[in-house]
């Protein structure tokens, strides 16, 4: 198949990224694999979508490190690719890292992906639904019982009233933007700092205040979902546990902290089952759930990372499961002459 990976910036990719592992796996399986950065798309005068693509020169790579070295090296193949002719375009950029002068890059993949999907390219995750997920309100559209109690406002009194209601402890973070930046633990006995935290966040927009789950002190479980179901390959779940390091509230990978093997419980699987209908409706092919206790803390729909960590603990190649799933979609699309609703194909 002809597969494109859309990333923030090809030169800034790291070998440990899930995207790199997926791309290497596809290359080794004989697929044609292209990388596109945020600035590489072209809407041509003939109404066709093109892109300046980058590809690794060889057809087999032993390691993802070697693959990325070649992709970023001087031997890499650089070519103007017709995006409309790709079989699959996988949107794997992380919008939260494109801030400041690069805010325009946050939506580039979605914007051009929305056109490509109308031309019969399978675009995952579905770009129209990713657009809705650009802010944390997306999470509030999942059933109430799987989420911590939440308030969203720019009004200081609203937020303080909520803190009191929650017994004094809550997590506050920006509604728009993510990545662990600007996430605060607000405590009632820390009155002097609460106003400052709120003011800092209000300058950037709306604030989410969220019930603090005591179990979060120990860390969380990341569980991958594919085609709306827990990603299971050769009897193993694609999951791992992230342990909190010291006082740092941000339990996501970028904030450091160690990892260990996850034990997937019935309560995890029940959560996965509850979010499934919405993921299917929205064409969310590959998603990472962050679970604390019996609640969902976050759903990463843009560029869920850590498939390599899951692989390390579970000893099966989950990348192969993902690429095989894409190949199956391409075969379906062939039978239907590239004429099938993208949101549905994304989950088949």
């Amino acid at each position: 198949m002809r597969l494109g990976f859309f990333v923030n910036d090809v030169a800034a990719e790291l070998s440990g990224y899930t995207t790199t592992r997926l791309a290497q796996t596809a290359t080794n399986r004989g697929d044609e694999v292209w990388y596109f950065g945020a600035a590489d798309f072209i809407y041509g005068a003939d109404d066709v979508i093109y892109a300046h693509g980058t590809a690794a020169p060889k057809t087999k790579y032993k390691t993802h490190e070697a693959y990325l070295r070649d992709l970023q090296g001087s031997q890499a193949v650089r070519q103007r690719v017709t995006v409309d002719d790709l079989d699959v375009l996988m949107l794997r950029s992380d919008p939260s890292t494109d801030t400041g002068n690069r805010v325009w890059a946050q939506t580039a993949g979605i914007t051009f992906g929305r056109v490509a999907k109308r031309r019969g390219v399978i675009v995952v995750n579905d770009p129209d639904c990713l657009l809705k997920a650009m802010n944390k309100m997306y999470f509030q559209h999942f059933p109430e019982e799987v989420r911590p109690r939440t308030l969203i406002s720019r009004n200081r009194d609203d937020i303080k009233a909520f803190l009191s209601e929650m017994g004094g402890n809550a997590v506050i973070k920006p509604l728009q933007g993510s990545g662990g930046a600007g996430v605060f633990m607000a405590k009632v006995d820390d009155r002097s700092n609460i106003n400052q935290m709120i003011d800092t966040l209000v300058r950037e927009g709306y604030i989410i205040a969220q019930e603090y789950l005591p179990a979060a002190a120990e860390g969380d479980t990341r569980l991958f979902m594919m085609n709306g179901k827990p990603l299971r390959y050769k009897g193993k779940y694609a999951a791992f546990r992230r342990l909190r390091r010291g006082d740092d509230l941000r339990s996501n990978i970028h904030a450091g902290g160690s990892k260990e093997k996850a034990v997937i419980t019935d309560s995890h699987l029940r959560l996965a089952e509850i979010v499934r209908p919405k993921l299917v409706q929205d064409g969310m092919f590959l998603v990472g759930l962050d679970i604390v206790g019996d609640k969902l803390m976050e759903i990463n729909v843009f560029s869920p990372g850590g498939l390599g960590s899951a692989q390390q603990f579970e000893r099966v190649n989950f990348n192969e499961a993902v690429i095989t799933a894409l190949e199956r979609k391409v075969a379906y699309m062939g039978h239907y002459h590239r004429n099938f609703a993208n949101e549905e194909m994304a989950m088949l």
Partner: protein, 348 residues
């Protein structure tokens, strides 16, 4: 009915704005009207959308200046209302005005509006489609024959090649930015500056280069569509001609220029007919088309302005027609107990 108008900020509203005239018309027809600014929404812990909103005490207003003055004064009612209990929420903010300091404000109405849909509030224009129209790709998804020739890219050389193909004359503007900032007309005379013009745009994202239409010299025609069709009331169509006075390239009504009555042609109606299916599909209730020669150069779906201008030339109250169309939707929603797809209701 209970209707909310979502705007950028009460301080920047002007008495000539279409939004204020619509609000005043609704008040005069006996409706409960609330004005909600971009920062005043909240998602409460009980999962309801609320807002700090303003309303006036009077029953009838002759001029929008009086109405606006009262809205801004201390006599205005300021209350925390439940947005979920409104019949209609009109999203009337202009995202272009919030590009600089308040990027979060651009999408606030869309984000909260999407949640209000759960309670059966009719949200117009449909927030999902609006989210996909924040950049200029929306117009590229309309049929080719009604658009000027267009090229979108970050690549300086490719942009120059396209302009060369057009004979050296083209309009150059930001793809994601507002309609009013950094619009250049590249000609064979100012070709020496082409690199600077491209840089001024590409440094902030994608550039859109477009065929220059000779008719743009004179200005453009603005035509309003309601429920996907030209807004016709008492035998008159809501439209007017905008004529450029200065040298500025900005062919929008906030730029220097004068207005006049317009005699619509078959070509204008043909364009309206061509965009109709997409507008209906997207739930676009109130839209402004910007037409030059027989091409659509812009489509304003966020906060189309100038209805009052059309009113002054055609001598009928188009605002009344818009409010009546909303009243009809509220009746429909009552028959169906607030259970009806928002996209479909938007153009019924």
């Amino acid at each position: 009915m209970r209707i909310g108008f979502f705007i950028n900020d009460i301080e920047t509203e002007k008495s000539g704005f279409t939004t204020l005239r619509l609000a005043m018309t609704a008040v005069n027809r006996g409706h409960e009207v609330w004005i909600i600014a971009a920062g005043d929404l909240a998602y409460d812990a009980d999962e309801k959308i609320r807002a700090w909103a303003r309303s006036t005490a009077g029953k009838k207003y002759k001029a929008t200046s009086t109405y606006l003055k009262e809205l801004k004064s201390s006599q205005a009612r300021s209350e925390r209302i439940t947005v979920d209990d409104l019949d209609i929420l009109m999203l009337r903010n202009d995202p272009a005005l919030d590009t600089g300091n308040r990027p979060w404000a651009k999408t606030a109405g869309i984000i909260f509006g999407n949640v209000a849909l759960r309670s059966g509030v009719v949200v117009l224009n449909d927030p999902t489609a609006l989210a996909g129209a924040l950049d200029k790709m929306y117009i590229q998804l309309l049929p080719k024959h009604i658009r000027p020739k267009t090229f979108i890219s970050c690549d300086r050389k490719e942009i120059k090649d396209f302009i060369q193909e057009l004979g050296g004359v083209a309009v150059l503007k930001g793809f994601q930015g507002s309609s009013s900032q950094e619009v250049f007309l590249v000609t064979n005379e100012n070709r020496a500056n082409i690199n600077q013009m491209i840089d001024a745009i590409v440094n902030f994202g994608y550039a859109i280069a477009q065929e220059y239409l000779p008719g743009a010299e004179q200005g453009s025609v603005r035509l309003f569509l309601v429920n996907g069709e030209p807004l016709r009331y008492k035998g008159k169509v809501a439209a007017f001609q905008w004529m450029r006075t200065g040298d500025g390239m900005r062919a929008n009504i906030h730029a220097p220029g004068s207005t006049a009555a317009v005699k619509l042609t078959e070509a204008h109606y043909q364009i309206a007919e061509t965009v109709r299916p997409r507008l209906v599909q997207d739930g676009m209730f109130l839209v402004g088309l910007e037409i030059v020669d027989d091409k659509l150069v812009d489509i304003d779906i966020f906060s189309p302005d100038g209805l009052v201008t059309a009113q002054s030339f055609e001598k009928v109250n188009f605002c009344e027609a818009v409010i009546k169309a909303l009243e009809r939707k509220v009746d429909y929603m009552a028959y169906y107990r607030r259970q009806f797809d928002n996209v479909d209701m938007a153009t019924l």
